[in-house]
């Protein structure tokens, strides 16, 4: 199971050619950035994702999806990372799809995800550091429903989402994993204020304010007070996915940089002839291979329902973020002056890495989890 199956290789090829062609930096990232698009991605491209079946990777066959898993999602995300393609794929087709899996909300939303019409987001963070168990946003029972008060931030695609899966506290206190509940909050809900912000990489993430937001009981996803398990399932799918996307970012930046070492001449030589750069390039290659192996291991363990999956998800996110950071720093440095310009694409990789590195927990969060899970 360590290597890809023939079907997986086919999917990888499909995703690679589709995203290199349609999802390129010039056609998507720069285009939407330069015209100041409020969503930060193109809905036309999201439709194309759907036409290729990619939006249904994590949706069960019983709902018309492909019924595949984290491994297939990782294959697509690596290509998304390589091309810096802005899309709601990770937030909607992976994280939110996993969060509502097996509930009535799946019946409500899966069709829209499959057709490429719906965008879903997850609202979990409340401070500047990822700490899901610290959730304080309050959901108080009132009559047949709940009233929500509090705030969320770094809600990726929160501004364009048709529905936001919101983690709220129905019991216990911040710091506890019990007493959390997931709610389906449709856009335009009264009392919900969405402040759509641009991030460093031109992607969008919202700050949400909940002011006496009234929801019916059927807005609950899963069970009241038992949200930790589906939240963890969704977050781990997201972390494994972000790890794969980071591997793609690292790989894209590294390919661009190594090509540059083979073209740029100084002192009458190609700069790639200098051993000082060769060794750094060799080290970077080695690190990217290792990060990719960790990302795929995490995805495969998740798909197998293996008990080591959680550990490897943390390892993969930490390693991939660390390595992608190395790749973009080396990328900008080795490009020299041109690497500092907006005109060149290498800087865009640095910006994307910064956002993905924070998403669902940074390197330090995940190292801490590895240590805690290993019993020290």
């Amino acid at each position: 199971m360590t290597l890809l199956s023939d079907d997986q290789k086919m999917l990888q090829e499909t995703a690679a050619s589709f995203l290199a062609e349609e999802g390129s930096i010039a056609k998507q990232l720069r285009h939407w950035r330069d015209i100041g698009c409020k969503d930060g991605f193109g809905h036309g491209l999201w439709k194309q994702f759907a036409e290729l079946g990619l939006t249904g990777i994590c949706i069960p066959e019983s709902h018309g999806g492909l019924g595949l898993g984290a491994t297939e999602a990782a294959l697509v995300l690596e290509e998304i990372g390589r091309n810096l393609t802005p899309s709601p794929f990770l937030a909607t087709a992976v994280v939110a799809a996993r969060a509502i899996e097996g509930t009535a909300h799946a019946d409500r939303w899966y069709a829209g995800i499959l057709s490429g019409d719906a965008v879903l987001a997850l609202a979990v963070d409340e401070g500047s550091r990822h700490a899901p168990e610290q959730t304080a946003l309050e959901a108080k029972r009132q009559g047949n429903g709940f009233v929500l008060n509090g705030g969320k931030q770094f809600v990726v695609q929160g501004g364009s989402a048709d529905m936001i899966v919101t983690v709220a506290r129905t019991g216990g206190s911040p710091g506890e994993t019990e007493g959390l509940t997931l709610f389906a909050v449709p856009k335009d809900t009264a009392g919900l204020n969405v402040d759509n912000l641009s991030l460093v990489d031109s992607s969008k993430a919202a700050r949400l304010t909940f002011e006496n937001v009234q929801l019916n009981a059927d807005a609950v996803i899963g069970e009241v007070d038992d949200g930790w398990q589906p939240l963890t399932r969704a977050l781990n799918a997201g972390r494994a996915g972000a790890a794969a996307e980071l591997v793609g970012v690292a790989s894209g930046a590294s390919t661009m940089t190594i090509d540059y070492l083979k073209q740029r001449r100084q002192f009458g030589k190609l700069i790639g002839e200098f051993q000082a750069l060769q060794h750094r390039a060799g080290h970077l290659y080695s690190e990217i291979e290792i990060a990719r192996a960790a990302a795929f291991k995490a995805a495969q363990l998740l798909d197998a329902g293996d008990e080591r999956a959680e550990l490897y998800v943390y390892v993969a996110k930490a390693k991939a973020a660390e390595v992608a950071s190395l790749a973009v720093r080396e990328g900008v440095q080795m490009h020299g002056g041109i690497g500092m310009t907006d005109e060149h694409d290498i800087g865009l990789f640095m910006k994307r890495e910064a956002v993905l590195g924070e998403l669902f927990g940074d390197v330090y969060y995940h190292r801490e989890r590895v240590a805690a899970l290993s019993g020290y």
Partner: protein, 377 residues
């Protein structure tokens, strides 16, 4: 039940019956490893028995052909055997450079006669080999070697010196790179096999900073080697040498995960700053363990880049050095005690990992040139 499932259950039963309890205990030190050879003294009856029953089945070298003393197992079966041995913590019945280095080279480059002669002896643990590669003037620049072999009609006459010959003082035979022509650097090297008891061969152990002496200087003074004891063609020994180095690097890269388990769980660091560094290390070690699995699968299926063992060797050995640095830090002043604990010796020995078998810098040169295609490397 598939064939592989029934192979697994048969194997599980057989190992359960045949592996002595003592051979299921973790290897504590170098002394627990069975190297075999003409003058081998078994550490225990259990060690002898385990080697004998495994060799009988060809399972000291499970994936070699049966004709040459191997088990004739498919890659999938060999993996099952490995997993079943790991399941009960069974030790390798035999560890040797014959298995990990010379054997694969003979399988690829040896004549039928050589395979039938040398391979079964290796498989049964009857002969211990050493590797004559590095010389005082040829370390990283291995192809610059000067030990010469002159064609004397019915024999080669070998004169020169090797250094860093692992266990030369304990080995029965040597596979040795010699210069048979000075016209071309790499195209003037041949690959010879000869008995360490041949007149004119002498060895001297080298004391390392770790206090151990796993390496020797080896001297050749008019050593006569029969003409047929050459692997591959005359002056084509570099091809054999490079192929074999790939296997050596693959083996050394395994050290990164050979130490096993979480470092943090083993040392329970109390200092928060050290704990953070150890957690960073554990992330890298677990990621590398995933890489090792992936590399092994890709190497077997032929999907791995031919130069990828260089990457594995580089990453695995650098990781092992870091592990030992952190283990020393966690051990504090107690880790400095020279006789009472092996910590300091293990730490010092690990420094050689990124030197032997081609330095980290050489591996990075290879990656840069052959994998990344950078110019002029």
């Amino acid at each position: 039940m598939t064939d592989l499932d029934s192979f697994r259950s048969e194997t599980r039963n057989w190992i359960e019956i045949n592996c002595p309890p003592e051979m299921r205990k973790p290897i504590r030190s170098e002394a627990d490893i069975c190297w075999g050879g003409r003058s081998w003294t078994f550490q225990s009856d259990a060690q002898r028995q385990w080697l004998e029953v495994m060799a009988e089945r060809g399972w000291t070298v499970p994936d070699w052909p049966k004709d040459y003393g191997g088990g004739g197992l498919s890659p999938a079966e060999a993996r099952v055997l490995k997993e079943e041995m790991q399941r009960i913590g069974a030790r390798a019945p035999l560890t040797s450079f014959g298995i990990s280095m010379l054997g694969p080279a003979l399988l690829k480059f040896g004549t039928e006669e050589q395979k039938r002669h040398y391979l079964p002896e290796i498989a049964r643990g009857e002969i211990r080999w050493c590797q004559g590669y590095s010389e005082p003037g040829a370390g990283s620049d291995l192809a610059g070697l000067q030990t010469k072999a002159e064609d004397k009609g019915d024999h080669w006459l070998v004169n020169g010196q090797k250094v860093w010959t692992s266990y030369a003082d304990k080995a029965d035979w040597i596979f040795c790179l010699v210069r048979t022509s000075t016209e071309s650097k790499q195209g003037g090297i041949s690959f010879l096999l000869f008995d360490m008891e041949t007149p004119g061969v002498s060895t001297r152990p080298i004391l390392l900073i770790s206090g151990s002496s796993p390496f020797c200087e080896t001297f050749f003074d008019d050593v006569k080697v029969p003409k047929e004891q050459i692997v591959g063609e005359v002056n084509k020994g570099w091809d054999v040498a490079k192929y074999l180095l790939g296997h050596e690097r693959e083996m050394i890269s395994g050290m990164g995960l050979g130490m096993g388990g979480s470092l943090g769980a083993a040392v329970k660091p109390s200092d928060p700053m050290l704990r953070a560094e150890i957690a960073a290390f554990d992330v890298d070690a677990l990621a590398f363990a995933a890489m090792s699995e992936r590399f092994a699968a890709m190497w077997k299926s032929g999907e791995a880049h031919p130069a990828s063992p260089s990457m594995m060797k580089y990453a695995g050995t650098e990781l092992n050095k870091r592990r030992n640095e952190l283990a020393m830090a966690a051990g504090g002043t107690e880790a400095l005690e020279w006789e009472a604990t092996p910590a300091a010796r293990t730490w010092l020995r690990s420094k050689g990992n990124s030197i032997e078998g081609g330095t980290s810098e050489i591996q990075l040169n290879i990656v840069a040139k052959h994998i990344l295609g950078l110019p002029g490397a």
